[in-house]
């Protein structure tokens, strides 16, 4: 995980063949510039970045479902719960499950655990839109390789 550049996922562990569920992992780094401010002398993972990690987890699942045809953009965060502090060096398991795929949007239930204990959870809604002009899709595909996303299974060449 490199939270200072919003790389919240280290690895896509598994995507369910039904494309309804995903499991990812991300290890909070021992050192990061975000801890300079959050908080001085007491580094803990910002809650907003835990939500971002859950959003990115869900994002990979949505990309798998549409085979990278369109990009999910976070639109709504509901029922977000941040249950405990997350500290440098801790390895998070991140899960997401599709609740509904509508026309141009997806709703998912997502959560993270630490050694099996619940850390945070939320219901997220994404708008699913055509890729913007420019190189965003290529960059996301590159990040997909970085997180071991199974491109051969879930993306067209």
């Amino acid at each position: 995980m490199r939270p200072e550049v919003f790389k919240m996922i280290d690895r896509v562990v598994a995507i369910d063949p039904s494309l309804e569920k995903i499991h990812c992992q991300g290890m909070v780094p021992e050192e990061s510039s975000i801890f300079e401010g959050h908080f001085p002398g007491y580094p803990i993972m910002p809650g907003v970045l835990l939500i971002e990690a859950m959003a990115q987890t869900t994002g990979w699942l949505v990309l798998a479902r549409n085979r990278f045809e369109k990009m999910p953009f976070l639109a709504t965060v509901k029922e977000a719960k941040l249950r405990t502090f997350v500290l440098p060096g801790q390895n998070l398991d991140l899960y997401s499950q599709i609740l509904h795929e509508g026309s141009g949007f997806v709703v998912a239930k997502t959560n993270a655990t630490l050694e099996g204990k619940p850390i945070c959870s939320a219901e997220l809604t994404f708008r699913v839109l055509p890729w913007p002009e420019g190189k965003m899709k290529a960059v996301v595909m590159k990040v997909a390789e970085y997180v071991s996303f199974p491109l051969s299974e879930f993306a067209d060449a």
């Binding site: 639109a75 509904h100 795929e101 509508g102 026309s103 141009g104 949007f105 809604t125 708008r127």
Partner: protein, 93 residues
Amino acid sequence: MSSTFDTVANIIAETCDIPRDTITPDSHAIDDLGIDSLDFLDIAFAIDKAFGIKLPLEQWTQEVNDGKATTEQYFVLKNLCARIDELVAAKAA
């Protein structure tokens, strides 16, 4: 139609915190009720779930943007309910 309208009106009232008695079949979701596109995602989610359908929002938006349809055709509630009834019937057929 009336039960479809009641369901949709109740969803809108609950989702957008709009007094139920101000929502009528002639209400325009956007112009009269002030529902924005983000709130409409919540409404679409609830409608999809309640009726077991998938509102074709992308198609409707495209038609409006292309000038092939007006927002009234899809977002005046009596028209929206008629579309929902069509989708439910098509699914059952």
